[in-house]
Structure formats: structure tokens, C-alpha cells
């Protein structure tokens, strides 16, 4: 029997699942496909900007009180936020992919983006940490001639314009691969091979000048990332760090792999390729969800459900040409402008963001979705991640922060409810009787 089914296998869903599993629940994750971490820089961006998106936030904690009361961080509160971050640090350690804060604990720090802008981040994976731009150490940016998603000269020019002494070098791709066509993930696999590390290490050593640190595209190994990074640094005789790239994001793939393996250790199955296509709700309770198969839909019953399907990008919301905009699993109410002509502003990079992406699912302080009157929609349903209202995580640079904080908070709340830790959430159904259909297939 499963206690909690998490719908969605992104950072929010995996966080919620791991949190609930640590609290003793039997958890299963179903996800339509793999997640947005594969597209992001996979730094832990907590809060980089507040709207309008102009100057970066240095101290996220003192900025929190200025956020709207409907913002997920306000709903979670600082204590739960700090607890979630601590969980994440523990997981990243346990999974062998440590994340680290900047020089000043509790403050954001700046890392170079793949075009040489400065990205405000709160925690960075070990491999990116050395790129900290609060340090005045000169940089050498190294790229490869046949790599379409990394342009070191462009990066260097922009960093120089911002006062960071930077040089750029483009090396031959044949140092690290014989492939005529390779994406970042394939290059990362190539760099796990010793002979490629030696070849690249030698080239780095001849390219680097004393005192420089070396920034490379984020392709320094997959499972063997730390070893790869250290081998290159040793060979080059200089600090080496990664700069994220366009999708596919190797750092995001690594983080997904680590979280999935931590879940596997806790016997949580993460089923990828399962799209929820049906639900049964009655008496204010979710009875089951069904996922599409190659034949009959597969029914999943559980005591509780946690929705972490993401927003527009994750597939949590859908819209059509008639201006309809809806939440895809439970059709939860969303506060998105009714008139499609109000969804966008004239500028793509508008500092205020696009209105359509501000809308989402409203939740209470236990991260339970609310109905249009402000009451809890279903007693055994929780929600986390990109589908939450009150924020545009891309504008704010809070993509991973929102996912983590709300995932942990919702997972905790669901666990507390199921283990009797919460008064208001009475008697979540433990065992749901079979529905009318004969196709019931519990896990």
C-alpha cells in the first residue's frame, strides 16, 4: 500500500517525496517525463530579483518580508525555508554532489552565466562554486571549437565589461571527443574517460597563466563529476569550475540522478512516462488517479496525493486558442487573466515579466490547494513547485528555491497529516474501496 502519490518528478516532486519518505511514508512518484532541472543551471537560486527585475537581491532573507503575502516563501515562512535548505544540503552531501554557499553565508553571490552576465545564486554545486565573481581572481574561459552551446570570447567580453579580468581560449573539440556531433551530456560522458582528461588537462596547463582560475562549460563528467573536476584542476595546476550551458543541463541531470538514487535508497519508486489522465474525487477527497498506459489506464490509489506537475513549462497548466487556461490534473482554480490579450507585455524581456506566468494555484499554509472561496479543495491533496500562485520563478531567479521550499513544506505537511500530526486535517482516508471499474490495479 502506498501512503502518498507524488504527481510530478521535478525538483518539487522529488523533494516532496524524499521529505515524506524520510518522515516514514510509503511514497511513489509518477511523472510524465523528466524535469526542468535538465534545462536550468541547477544552482539553488533562492531569490535573485524582486519585480521589477532590475538590481539583483543581495540578502534574500531580509528581502523576504517585502514579498507579497501570497508568495510561496511568505506562506512557508523563514523557518520552513531554512529547514528545506538544510535538507537539501544534507541530501547533496549524501548523494556525493555537494552544494555550497557563497563567501558570505546567508547572502547571494554572483556566478557567470553562459553569456557572461552575472547570475545571483544562493547555493551552487561544488563544480560551479569557484566561479564566484565576488573574488577578483582573473578568469580564463575555455571552450571547444565544435561545441555549439558555449562561446568563451563572448563570455569573456561581457565579464571584462563588468570589471572582471577575463581571457578566452577556444580549444579543439578533438581533445575531448572523436564524435562529429555531441551534446553537453555526451561530452560529459567523454570527459569521464581518463585519456580525454589527460589531453584536456595538458591543454589547460599550457593555456592558463599564473593566478588564473579556469571556467569550462558544464561538461565535466556525469556520475564521476567530482573526480573529473579534480583531475582537470590537478593537471592544469589551477582552480577549475563549470559554467552552465543551454539545455541539456549536465548539472541538472546530475542533481536529478542523485535525488532519484536517494529515493531508491528509501524504496520510493519514481515511475517516468506515466501521465495522469484521470482522477476520482468524492466527498472532498481524492480517491485515485489514473495514468495512461499502452492499454487500459492504470489506477493508483493512496491515502494522499501531492501535485507537483509544474506550471506552463512543466505541463501543470494547459491553454488553448480560445483563451482557456487550466490546471491539467484536478482542474484547480487558477488566477490567470481571463482575456488572452492581457497575458503578455509588448517586450519579451520586460522587467515586470509576462502577466500570464504570475497566475497559479493558491494554497493554504499547509500547501493544500484552495478552492475559489478560500477553503481547502481536497482534504488529502497537497501542491508544490512551479504551479503555485504568487510568483514568477524565472523572473525572480527562484526556480529551484520555490521548488525546494514548497516541495519540502508540502511533503512535511502531508506526512504530518497522515501520521496524525495535524489537527485540522482530520482522517485522511486510509484505504479507499475499489471503484466500479474492474480495471483497478493498485500498486
Amino acid at each position: 500500500m502506498i501512503d502518498l502519490i507524488v504527481i510530478g518528478a521535478g525538483l518539487a516532486g522529488l523533494t516532496a517525496a524524499l521529505t515524506a519518505a524520510e518522515a516514514g511514508l510509503r511514497v511513489k512518484v509518477v511523472g510524465k517525463g523528466l524535469n526542468a532541472l535538465h534545462w536550468s543551471a541547477a544552482t539553488l537560486d533562492l531569490l535573485g530579483y524582486t519585480p521589477p527585475r532590475r538590481a539583483p537581491v543581495r540578502e534574500p532573507w531580509t528581502t523576504l518580508p517585502h514579498l507579497s503575502l501570497t508568495h510561496p516563501y511568505q506562506i512557508a515562512g523563514e523557518l520552513r525555508m531554512r529547514a528545506a535548505l538544510q535538507r537539501f544540503l544534507n541530501w547533496s552531501q549524501a548523494g556525493g554532489l555537494p552544494y555550497l554557499p557563497g563567501a558570505v553565508e546567508g547572502e547571494n553571490f554572483m556566478l557567470p552565466s553562459p553569456i557572461g552576465a552575472m547570475r545571483p545564486v544562493y547555493l551552487a554545486p561544488y563544480g560551479q562554486r569557484e566561479g564566484d565573481l565576488s573574488s577578483q581572481q582573473p578568469l580564463l574561459i575555455v571552450g571547444f571549437d565544435r561545441m555549439r552551446d558555449f562561446y568563451p570570447h563572448l563570455l569573456a567580453e561581457h565579464l571584462n565589461k563588468q570589471g572582471h579580468s577575463t581571457r578566452a581560449v577556444v580549444l579543439s573539440s578533438s581533445l575531448i571527443t572523436q564524435r562529429s556531433d555531441a551534446n553537453t551530456v555526451q561530452l560529459a560522458a567523454e570527459l569521464e574517460r581518463r585519456e580525454h582528461q589527460i589531453a584536456l588537462g595538458g591543454a589547460l596547463k599550457s593555456a592558463v597563466r599564473p593566478g588564473e582560475r579556469i571556467g569550462l562549460p558544464a561538461i565535466l563528467g556525469l556520475d564521476e563529476h567530482t573526480k573529473t573536476l579534480e583531475a582537470l584542476a590537478a593537471a592544469a595546476g589551477a582552480p577549475v569550475f563549470e559554467i552552465p550551458t543551454l539545455p541539456p543541463s549536465v548539472p541538472g541531470l546530475r542533481l536529478t540522478t542523485v535525488l532519484r538514487s536517494l529515493l531508491a535508497r528509501r524504496h520510493v519508486r519514481v515511475e517516468i512516462g506515466m501521465e495522469v489522465v484521470g482522477v476520482q474525487v468524492e466527498d472532498g477527497v481524492v480517491r485515485w488517479v489514473e495514468t495512461a498506459t499502452s492499454s487500459r489506464p492504470l489506477r493508483h490509489t493512496a491515502s494522499a496525493f501531492l501535485l507537483a506537475t509544474g506550471g506552463v513549462l512543466g505541463g501543470g497548466f494547459q491553454s488553448d486558442h480560445q483563451g482557456r487556461f487550466w490546471e491539467t490534473v484536478f482542474d484547480l482554480p487558477l488566477n490567470v487573466p481571463q482575456d488572452r490579450s492581457q497575458w503578455f507585455r509588448p517586450l519579451f524581456l520586460d522587467a515586470e515579466g509576462q502577466p500570464v506566468f504570475h497566475g497559479g494555484v493558491a494554497v493554504d499554509n499547509q500547501f493544500q490547494p484552495l478552492d475559489s472561496k478560500g477553503g481547502v479543495m481536497y482534504r488529502n491533496l497537497w501542491a508544490a513547485g512551479g504551479l503555485l500562485a504568487g510568483t514568477d520563478p524565472l523572473q525572480e531567479h527562484s526556480l529551484e528555491g520555490i521548488a525546494l521550499v514548497s516541495g519540502a513544506a508540502a511533503g512535511e505537511a502531508a506526512a504530518a497529516a497522515l501520521t496524525g500530526g495535524r489537527q485540522t486535517n482530520e482522517a485522511a482516508p486510509a484505504d479507499i474501496p475499489a471503484g466500479a471499474s474492474a480495471a483497478k490495479t493498485p500498486q
Binding site: E59, Y151, D320
Partner: protein, 604 residues
């Protein structure tokens, strides 16, 4: 002020203007063509891509229909590689019953358009998505055309014949001499929009081929020409859906045609009389109408992914006409201002359509030659533009070449299969000011992700070219005059769209010429190309395309933080697109007004 002497000055770098330049050059005349942006930046580059058989006008406008079928036959030879032989179908939907189909058949016969009624089963075999409730189908020799490529190819042919084709050159004003009763246009004062330099072009004959802007130009010469700007809105679907041009068999109206062109299917068009050719804002009802009407031809098309929407303004003209723009003639109009207005040395060519651009040029130059006393005949109907040996376009050609030569690793725009060498060749062989110019050359950013991945890559590659073009040892930025009025070398576009051909040319180029590369910084090229893509997206963002847009936001906001580059807020008039725009007035603030971010400023 510098003075350039020529026989013919052509104003306007659309299909008509380049056609006139080509025609004139082939007759041995000296020609200068000026275009204020890139070639085809006006209506030519904003049309649906139909090579008319004439069927559409057979009943309503037989003269136009005759012009179409004749030119259709000519262009298939002279511009072979710019044309896809899709064929066209006229289908009778349940709403189109009545006598029109019979009239259509008879009219086609009368004007000489091959028209064959097909068994329904054959029509469905060719086009499985076609509405199964249609009752009759007629096949005609419609086709689809690449108006960017064909116009550039015509410009190249004109250049090879001696014409000077100057893009990013704006006419400040025509030069008019003489007094009452003996006024004559003798050329124009022109500004190089990149360098800011102004000069005078003195010409024996000035041809106003400014399309929807022809009225404004004529007014500057003191002549009233009432162009009827008919705005047409088009919607491009994410993939072909149909591979034959599909027309409703009825009197032409809104949304009654689907044109497969390159990788997309275009549903067109509306026809709205607007007050100004630059009012290109797309209204929600127009998109809705295209989709609703599209459903009648291909049921369910409204639920398929829409790639983009855009509008172009037809330069319709009819002497004394005051009705709806839909009813204005599609036939070409040549205004002899000497006869009409008593102003010599000045002709306005307008009306018509892409399919008849060559004929328009011929008609114009016949008149010009007559007035100039030149007796050389038109040669364009029997002259081929460079590149026709590639044969007619077929959809699979890029994929086929990339597969055959295993060029997958060098793709920059993965949606439209643009390789790095294609992009570089386009940038090096032709004057380039914006990434949008490269889009027209090689289709950069025209696929599903609408620049999401390739804009960054193109900016990086152009930056590397810019660096390579700098004199050794200097780290200074590039000279401001990227395009000089004396850009003598002919255009070279014949093989730009061929991945395998571009590949062979890599390395054959010596150091890139800075003069042909964009002067703007990569950050601004990137910002402004994204903005150019954005304005065609907002009318159609829902469903999958909204999801795509959000991924593009993730890349540019979260991963790249591209709006926080050191010069992200700089003004860049040449690459900024929101001044010539689909958006309402309040949007006409520049990025510099909106993004006032400063790197040092930090918020508590």
C-alpha cells in the same frame, strides 16, 4: 555631399524594386536601388508565399488571372530554386455549393489556367487531412515561393548585371527640379542608415517601388497617390499539415487559403483597410478567424500548434476607388506621373502581387525606356537568376544534404536545419546589420522554438566573426559604417540555403570583411532578434507554443540572465524592432527606457 550619377534610381527593395533593378541592368542601364532596411523587409517578406496559378482571380479579376498564369510559367524557369511545385487544389466545402464551381472551371478554361477536376479519393490520397465533406476538387498549377530567396537572388542577378543594390539606405526626400508645368524628379537624397552619411543619387528616371509606402514617397515629390493599404494577417502552423496549396472554391475572402511553404503551412489572409502601412498590429479576432476558416479546409487545424502570426500590407491601388480593400484590383498599376501629374522622370509601380513582380518590372521599364528613348528590350523572361541549377525547392533538401554529408554536429538553428557554415556564409557574403537579416537569408530562428536556442548561438558566432574581422592587435570595437554606399561586390545568395554547399566554402573565405558584419554588439543583436520573434508570437501564444515560449524565457532569463548584460539597455535604432511594429503606441518605448538596470546597483 557625395553625388552618385545613374540612369535609374529604384526606391524600394521588395520583389518589385529588385525586379526593376534587374530588368534595367539587363537592358544595359546604370541602376542604383535603395532600400531603407533589408531586402524584403516590407510587404514582400510578409506574404504567405503563394505562387498564383491565377485560379484565385479567374472569376473575379480575369486580367489579374492571365498575368498570374503567364508569370507562373516564367518564374518556374527564371527562379526555379525559389519555387516549390506544390500544385494547388480548389475545394468545394459544404458552404461553397452553388454555381461558383462551374463558373470557376469555365473561367480557368477561358483564361488558360490548366484546371482538372480530381476524383475525391485522389484528393484525399494527396491530402489526407482535407475536409472529408468537400464535394468537388479542382487541381491547378499553384506553387509556393520563397520571397526572401527570390528577391535576394534577383538582387544578385541585378548586381551581376551592374546594378548597385544598397540596403539600409533610406530616402530622405526625392529631388524635384523645375517649376509649374515642368517639374521633374531627378533623383533623391539618401542616407546610409548605418553610417549616417547622406548623399545624392541623380537619376534620369526615378522608380517609386516603395510598395505600401509609395504614397508617402509620392507625396514627398508633391504628388498624390492614394495607395489602399490592405493589411493581411497570416498564421503559420508549426508544420506543413498540407503539402498542396489548398484554396476554397469561392469568391476570394478571408482565411480561404492554406499555403505550404518551407516547413510551415500558412493560413491566409485577412484584408483590412488600414490607415498606415506601418500599422501591423494583429487583432485577436483576425487570428481566430484564420483558424476558424482553416478548420473548414482542414478540420481540427485550429487545435494544432501555431508557430507564429504576422501581417503585411498590400499596396493596392485603383484610380478613383473607394470601396473595401478586398475588392480593389490585384492587377498591377503603373502611374506615369508625367502624363498623370505633369511630373517627369518619375514612375510609380504598385498593386500587383509577388507572382507578377517580373511583369511589373517589365512594364515599368518599358515605360521608362520609352521616356528615356532607350529601345533595348526586356530580357528578364529569358534570363535565369543564379542558383536555378539546384532545381525546384523540395521540403526534404536540407535534411537530405545534412544526412548525406553528416553535418548534424554543425547545426546552429536545429529547427530549420541551419548549419554554422550557412550562417557564416550568409553573414560574410552579404551585408548584415541584424540577426533578422540572417533569418531572411537562411531561415534562422523561423522554426518551432522561434530563436530560443539559435539566437544565443548566432550571437556567439557573429561575435567570433567580428573578432576575426578586427585588425590584428586591436581590441577596439568595430567601425560604425558597416555598410558603405560603395559596397561593390555583388550579393551572393545562390547557395546560402544549401548546407552541403556552404560546408565546402568554409575556409575559402579570407579574413571576414568588417564592413559586411553587424556593427551592433552581440548582446543587442540577441536582444533585438528575440524581440522581433516575440512580436509575432504574442498573438498566438497558447498550448504548446506557450510552453515553448516559457522554455525560451527560462534560457534567456534564468540561465543566461541576458537582460542583465552590461549594455542590455542600450539604444540600437537599427536593430530595434518595436518602432516598426505590430504593437500599440504605448509599446513604443525602447528597451533603454524599460531596462534601466545598472550592474552596480544592488537592492537590499
Amino acid at each position: 555631399m557625395q553625388l552618385v550619377e545613374t540612369d535609374i534610381l529604384v526606391i524600394g527593395g521588395g520583389s518589385t524594386g529588385t525586379g526593376v533593378a534587374w530588368d534595367a541592368a539587363l537592358r544595359g542601364l546604370r541602376v542604383v536601388l535603395v532600400e531603407k532596411r533589408d531586402l524584403t523587409h516590407g510587404t514582400t517578406g510578409r506574404y504567405h508565399g503563394l505562387l498564383h496559378s491565377g485560379g484565385r482571380y479567374a472569376v473575379k479579376d480575369p486580367q489579374s488571372a492571365v498575368e498570374c498564369i503567364e508569370e507562373n510559367r516564367i518564374l518556374r524557369r527564371t527562379h526555379a530554386h525559389c519555387i516549390e511545385d506544390t500544385g494547388g487544389l480548389f475545394v468545394v466545402t459544404p458552404e461553397d455549393e452553388g454555381e461558383y464551381p462551374e463558373r470557376f472551371k469555365a473561367a480557368c478554361l477561358k483564361v488558360g489556367i490548366p484546371c482538372e477536376e480530381l476524383p475525391l479519393a485522389e484528393a484525399f490520397r494527396r491530402e489526407p487531412m482535407l475536409n472529408r465533406r468537400i464535394s468537388r476538387v479542382f487541381a491547378v498549377p499553384d506553387g509556393s515561393a520563397d520571397s526572401f530567396l527570390s528577391t535576394h537572388a534577383t538582387a544578385q542577378a541585378a548586381s551581376q548585371a551592374g546594378a548597385k543594390v544598397l540596403i539600409y539606405h533610406e530616402v530622405i526626400h526625392p529631388v524635384v527640379e523645375g517649376g509649374d508645368g515642368d517639374r521633374r524628379v531627378v533623383g533623391a537624397v539618401v542616407r546610409n542608415m548605418v553610417s549616417g552619411e547622406e548623399f545624392t543619387v541623380r537619376a534620369a528616371m526615378t522608380i517609386n517601388a516603395a510598395g505600401a509606402w509609395a504614397g508617402k514617397l509620392a507625396a514627398a515629390a508633391g504628388i498624390e497617390v492614394k495607395i489602399i493599404p490592405g493589411k493581411g494577417t497570416m498564421v503559420a502552423m508549426n508544420h506543413r499539415i498540407v503539402n498542396t496549396v489548398i484554396n476554397r472554391c469561392k469568391m476570394p475572402s478571408d482565411g480561404d487559403i492554406i499555403v505550404p511553404v518551407h516547413t510551415v503551412a500558412v493560413i491566409g489572409t485577412t484584408d483590412e483597410k488600414v490607415t498606415d502601412p506601418e500599422l501591423l498590429r494583429i487583432e485577436p479576432w483576425e487570428v481566430q478567424l484564420m483558424l476558424d476558416e482553416g478548420d473548414k479546409l482542414v478540420p481540427g487545424i485550429s487545435r494544432a500548434r501555431v508557430l507564429r502570426a504576422w501581417a503585411g500590407v498590400r499596396p493596392l491601388y485603383q484610380e478613383g476607388f473607394s470601396g473595401q480593400s478586398r475588392d480593389a484590383t490585384r492587377s498591377l498599376t503603373l502611374l506615369d506621373h508625367q502624363e498623370r501629374d505633369g511630373v517627369s522622370g518619375f514612375l510609380t509601380i504598385t498593386g500587383g502581387k509577388w507572382t507578377t513582380f517580373r511583369l511589373m518590372a517589365e512594364t515599368t521599364m518599358d515605360m521608362a525606356c520609352k521616356q528615356l528613348g532607350v529601345t533595348r528590350p526586356c530580357k528578364t523572361a529569358d534570363t535565369f537568376v543564379p542558383g536555378i541549377e539546384q532545381g525546384h525547392y523540395w521540403l526534404g533538401h536540407r535534411l537530405h544534404e545534412i544526412e548525406e554529408h553528416r553535418l548534424q554536429g554543425s547545426l546552429v538553428c536545429e529547427c530549420e536545419l541551419v548549419t554554422r557554415s550557412m550562417l557564416e556564409q550568409a553573414a560574410l557574403k552579404n551585408p548584415t546589420v541584424t540577426l533578422d537579416d540572417l533569418r531572411r537569408d537562411v531561415r534562422l530562428g523561423m522554426g518551432p522554438c522561434q530563436g530560443g536556442f539559435c539566437t544565443y548561438r548566432a550571437a556567439g558566432i557573429l561575435h567570433e566573426l567580428q573578432l576575426a574581422a578586427e585588425p590584428a592587435g586591436t581590441a577596439a570595437s568595430l567601425p560604425a559604417h558597416a555598410v558603405t554606399p560603395a559596397a561593390e561586390e555583388p550579393w551572393d545568395v545562390a547557395y546560402l540555403q544549401s548546407p552541403s554547399h556552404s560546408r565546402q566554402e568554409v575556409g575559402s573565405q579570407s579574413a571576414p570583411a568588417a564592413a559586411r558584419l553587424p556593427a551592433a554588439s552581440p548582446a543587442l543583436l540577441l536582444r533585438d532578434f528575440l524581440q522581433e520573434r516575440w512580436r509575432g508570437l504574442t498573438p498566438i501564444l497558447w498550448g504548446q507554443q506557450l510552453k515553448q515560449e516559457r522554455l525560451d524565457e527560462l534560457i534567456y532569463l534564468s540561465v543566461l540572465n541576458a537582460d542583465h548584460l552590461p549594455n542590455a539597455g542600450d539604444s540600437s535604432p537599427l536593430t530595434e524592432f518595436w518602432q516598426f511594429d505590430t504593437t500599440p503606441a504605448e509599446a513604443h518605448k525602447t528597451a533603454s527606457e524599460t531596462a534601466t538596470q545598472t550592474a552596480g546597483e544592488v537592492q537590499p
